[in-house]
C-alpha cells in the first residue's frame, strides 16, 4: 500500500474515537490501552509504505482484537480498499488467491505451517509479502522463505500493544535470531548517556504511536518494553532476551509468573513450575509445565482446566518431585534437564 492511498482513505465511521486493546497486566487482570485513529493510520502508512508495497488481497491470520490483526487485517485493507480474507476465523479454509494477485499475509506463528501447506495455491500470486509480529517465527517460516523466495518475502515486526511497531528486519531463510533490528523512523530510544554500546540494556522507546493506558490521560512520554537489547548503531539493535518472564505463544502474551500463580492457586495439592520452551514448531515460542503431585488426584486435564484461557503449554511433564535450589526456588537447570 502507498502513502497516497493511506492519506486518501475514507474516515472511519464513528468519528475519531479511541480504539481499545487489552493486554494481560502484571496482576493477571486485563489492562486497557487506547489508540487514536490517526495513530492506526500512521502505523499502516509507515509499515505499508516501507515493507508491504502495493497489494490486491490481504490474508489475515491475526485476530483483530489484537493490535497487529487490527492494523493489517482491518485498517490496511480498508484504507487501501483491497479484499481481505479473515483466515484467523477458520485457519483450515482454503486460501482464496487469484492468479497474478499481489498478496499480503498477516502472520502469527501458526500461520506458517498453513502457508506451507497452502503454497500450491499461494504461488499463483505475482508476489507474496508476509508480516510476522511479536513472537519468534517457527522453523517452518525460515524454511518457507528459503523455498519460496523471491516470490515470497517476509518481514518481522517488533512491537507491542503499548508501543505499536518499534523496529523491523527481513525474515531470513537461514534463521536470523542474532540479526539486528532497524527502528521505524518515528521511534527514538532512551538510554543512559555514556552507556557503552555493547552493554545489555532494556529497550525504552519514545514515539507518536504510544498508546494511552487506561489509568492515564494521555500516552506516556516513553515506554520500557521489557526487552533486553544491545545497540549496534544509532537506530539498530540486537535482541538479547526479555527482562521478565514474558513469552509470546502464537503471538499472545503469556507471563509465566502468572501461570505459576494460577496453577498454585487452583491446584494447591500439586507443585507446578512453568518454564519457557523456545523454538516450538508451530507456536514459535512455548512453555512447559513441570509438575509433581503423585497421589494428589491431579492429572494433566486438571492442569489444562486450571490454566483456563491462558494459551496451552507445549508440554506437561510429570516429575516425582520438583527439584529446588538451596534457597528453595525451583532449580531451572535441573528441571530443564528433566525434559
Amino acid at each position: 500500500m502507498t502513502a497516497r492511498a493511506a492519506r486518501t482513505a475514507e474516515p472511519r465511521a464513528g468519528g475519531r474515537d479511541e480504539i481499545r486493546f487489552d493486554t494481560s497486566g502484571s496482576t493477571g487482570v486485563a489492562r486497557g490501552w487506547f489508540r487514536l485513529p490517526h495513530q492506526m493510520e500512521r502505523e499502516v502508512e509507515l509499515i505499508g509504505t516501507r515493507l508491504v508495497g502495493q497489494v490486491d488481497r490481504v490474508i489475515n491470520y491475526a485476530p483483530p482484537q489484537h493490535l497487529f490483526g487490527a492494523l493489517f487485517g482491518q485498517w490496511l485493507p480498508r484504507m487501501a480498499k483491497v479484499r481481505v480474507h479473515q483466515a484467523w476465523t477458520d485457519p483450515f479454509e482454503p486460501l482464496p488467491v487469484r492468479p497474478g494477485e499481489r498478496v499480503l499475509v498477516v502472520c502469527v506463528p501458526m500461520a506458517w505451517d498453513l502457508l506451507r501447506r497452502g503454497w500450491p495455491t499461494l504461488k499463483r500470486a505475482s508476489s507474496v509479502v508476509a508480516l510476522h509480529s511479536s513472537a519468534a517465527p517457527p522453523p517452518t517460516a525460515h524454511a518457507l522463505v528459503r523455498r519460496a523466495a523471491p516470490l515470497l518475502r517476509a518481514h518481522e515486526i517488533l512491537g507491542s500493544t503499548e508501543t505499536g511497531g518499534i523496529a523491523h528486519r527481513r525474515l531470513a531463510p537461514e534463521g536470523n535470531s542474532a540479526a539486528p533490528w532497524e527502528a521505524f523512523p518515528d521511534i527514538s530510544f532512551v538510554r543512559d548517556v555514556g552507556t557503552p554500546a555493547e552493554r545489555k540494556q532494556e529497550l525504552v522507546v519514545r514515539g507518536p504511536r504510544l498508546a494511552r493506558p487506561e489509568s492515564g490521560t494521555g500516552p506516556p512520554a516513553q515506554w520500557a518494553t521489557g526487552d533486553l537489547v544491545r545497540f549496534t548503531g544509532p537506530r539498530t539493535f540486537r535482541l538479547v532476551g526479555r527482562g521478565s518472564s514474558l513469552i509470546k505463544v502464537n503471538g499472545i502474551k503469556v507471563h509465566l509468573a502468572r501461570v505459576d500463580e494460577r496453577l498454585g492457586a487452583r491446584l494447591p495439592q500439586a507443585e507446578c513450575v512453568a518454564l519457557p520452551l523456545p523454538g516450538d514448531s508451530l507456536a514459535g515460542e512455548g512453555y512447559v509445565v513441570l509438575w509433581s503431585g503423585r497421589g494428589s488426584g491431579v492429572g494433566v486435564a486438571d492442569i489444562r482446566a486450571a490454566l483456563g484461557d491462558f494459551p496451552g503449554p507445549s508440554r506437561i511433564v510429570e516429575l516425582a518431585c520438583i527439584p529446588r535450589t538451596s534457597t528453595g526456588k525451583p532449580d531451572r537447570e535441573a528441571l530443564l534437564s528433566a525434559l
Binding site: D90, M110, R117, R304, G312
Partner: protein, 103 residues
C-alpha cells in the same frame, strides 16, 4: 474358502485396523489432553469435549496425527475441519489415507 468367508475375514480385518487406528489416534490426543481425551466418546466433537482445543491445538493435532501415521493431510483437497472434528472421523480418514498409500 467361500466368498462370504473372505468377505467376513476382510470385514473383520478392517474392523481390527479401525480399532488399532482409533487407539493410536486416541494416544495422540491423550499425550496432549490427558484424562479428558481418555474419556472421550468416539463421536464427540473435539472442540466441545476438550478444554483448550482451539485452532492452534487443532493444527497441532493434525500435525501429530501425520507424524504418528507417516501421512500428509491434504488441507486443500480434503475437508480437514470435518475429518479431524471427532476421534472416529479422524481414524476413518487415517485408515483410508494409509490404504491409499499402500495401494
Amino acid at each position: 474358502m467361500h466368498t462370504s468367508d473372505r468377505t467376513s475375514e476382510h470385514t473383520s480385518h478392517r474392523a481390527s485396523d479401525h480399532t488399532e487406528t482409533s487407539t493410536r489416534v486416541l494416544a495422540v490426543l491423550e499425550k496432549r489432553f490427558g484424562d479428558a481425551a481418555r474419556t472421550l466418546a468416539p463421536d464427540a466433537d473435539l472442540s466441545d469435549a476438550l478444554p483448550g482445543f482451539d485452532s492452534l491445538a487443532a493444527l497441532e493435532y493434525v500435525t501429530a496425527v501425520e507424524g504418528e501415521f507417516g501421512i500428509e493431510v491434504d488441507f486443500v483437497g480434503d475437508d480437514v475441519r470435518y475429518w479431524f472434528s471427532t476421534l472416529d472421523r479422524t481414524a476413518e480418514y487415517v485408515r483410508e489415507c494409509v490404504e491409499d498409500q499402500a495401494a
